[in-house]
Amino acid sequence: MTDITIEQVEQAIDVASDTVIRNEHYFSDLDGLAGDGDFGTSLATGFKVIKADLPTIDKSAIGAMLLKISMLCSKHVGGSSGPIWGTGFMKAGMVSKGKTSVTLEELAEMVNAAVEGIMARGGAKLGDKTLLDALIPIAEKMKEMAPAGDAAATLKAVTEVADKAIDETRNLVAHRGRASQVGERSANTPDPGIVGVATILLDWCKHYGVDYTPTAAELNH
């Protein structure tokens, strides 16, 4: 097995940026069902800047690059997503300080740090119907599979986790974010954050030639 290089991380982020930008209106529409309809725009606004700056930002190390991306989120991403995604990149960056490449196990630790950071930041728990309902099981799955060192298999597995999370949380009531203000009315709508995470993973699968057939309607729209 080979390590994941900073170039690969940069590329993955570039691909994710395209996903977010392409789905701007779709993600906002999903947020509009129970939330305030700004999720797609907030995220896309930030990732447009990230994609534009990516070639030129500090790439002395993965950590440095991720901390810079965190800064861009904190400046350009509005709503809750700013601090949520900014925190994720920040925490992942802190555990990858100085590294120009990481093992799959180290990547798992980065994801785990991001998840714990987001939980601490927003106080959401598993089942609150937030993107953590995808990220928490993803972090566990990565921890479990990382030792085997099969990046492709791991990507496919976490994509499936995120895919399933969409339908598993669909009928829940949101307890965080704007969607929580409408209470019961947030049931029977997908959580846009979870859909966002799953869509990024699905695009990574496509990009890296990992074939996976999603089940959630939002991934086949």
Partner: protein
């Protein structure tokens, strides 16, 4: 849209520009971060008190910057939290040896933005602490939501902390003051109309000609109940009772009583509400030591009002009586 607005995208920077032009000696702006700060702050030996939240609640928050009040504040878009970096830059701009106290109203967006900003500032060795304000009794506290909202009671936390900081109290002492105020202040509001965020162009919620929303949030969040409009006295009773039983306020207590206009309700009506609220307070055996009638925390042009009561002690009375100055003034 019955509003004075140019390009809605510029609504916030434009009113902030007006605030600066109206207070050239007192205030300065950092437009990049929609921040306004006292020209003469920070100073090393005094705690800086800062805040920042969505716009549309004027005079909260940037118009509450001034001697004895906030030292600085940043604004988000109408009804949306400021970006993390604006919060971070506000802390940095007011950083002092004595430390920075961030007064955060309890909304997830604001909390997360300030929490991350504080973490970033601390990472740079800046002394900063946060305090969460949540005086709105309309929201039933719960494990499953962010909990009670910060509304007009915010004014009293700012006023008392501003006075304590001006006196040279330490960061922990000022936080203790914030805690005392927040633990003793309660608010409930009622909306007669909705309001229109300029960039949205239409009302944030629908409400019938004969309806009111009791327990309204300052962003139009649904309250406790949608009811038929009643007499001013009867509405005041509803607000007063909800506030009075919550703390509770008991016979013998000295209190500060506030009737806050939500933006579209004129002064005369606020005094009609105040007359009844004052009588209800006295009937409960409370002594109204200080009163406040006007616009302190609005919701754009929403017609409506909120009733806030703060239980006083000698320390708080001194802080409320201390001199202060903000953009919103009469003379």
């Amino acid at each position: 849209m019955k509003k004075f607005v140019n390009d809605p995208a510029n609504f916030v920077p434009e009113f902030m520009k007006g605030v600066i032009l109206a207070n050239p000696d007192l205030l300065e702006a950092v437009p990049e971060f929609q921040m306004i700060k006292r020209k003469d702050r920070p100073v090393a030996d005094k705690v800086s008190v800062v805040q920042g939240s969505g716009s549309g609640h004027e005079p909260a928050h940037v118009m509450a910057v001034g001697p004895g009040m906030l030292d600085g504040a940043c604004q988000g878009p109408v009804f949306a939290a400021p970006p993390v970096d604006a919060c971070y830059e506000t802390i940095k701009a007011l950083a002092s040896d004595a430390g920075v106290l961030v007064l955060v109203n309890n909304y997830q967006g604001d909390r997360m933005a300030w929490d991350m900003a504080c973490e970033m500032a601390e990472a740079e060795g800046i002394k900063v602490k946060q305090f969460i304000i949540n005086d709105d009794v309309a929201v039933k506290d719960s494990l499953y939501t962010v909990g009670r909202r910060g509304v007009a009671g915010n004014f009293f936390v700012i006023k008392a902390c501003g006075a304590a900081a001006a006196e040279g109290k330490s960061l922990d002492e000022v936080i203790a003051v914030a805690e005392k105020v927040n633990n003793n202040v309660r608010t409930m509001g009622v909306a007669l109309t909705s309001c229109i965020p300029p960039a949205k162009g239409n009302a944030i919620f629908e409400i019938g000609d004969d309806e009111m929303e009791v327990g309204i949030g300052i962003h139009g969040e649904p309250g406790r109940s949608r009811e038929k409009i009643r007499s001013a006295d009867s509405i005041t009773e509803t607000l007063f009772d909800a506030v009075a039983v919550d703390l509770p306020f008991n016979s013998g207590d000295r209190v500060a009583l506030m009737i806050n206009g939500l933006g579209g309700t004129p002064p005369a009506e606020l005094y009609v509400l105040y007359a009844k609220a004052h009588e209800l307070a006295e009937a409960r055996g409370l002594t109204v030591a200080r009163n406040y009638v006007g616009e302190y925390c609005t919701s754009l042009e929403m017609a409506g009002a909120s009733l806030t009561m703060l239980k006083l002690d000698a320390e708080l009375e001194t802080y409320l009586a201390a001199p202060a100055q903000i953009a919103t003034r009469v003379f």
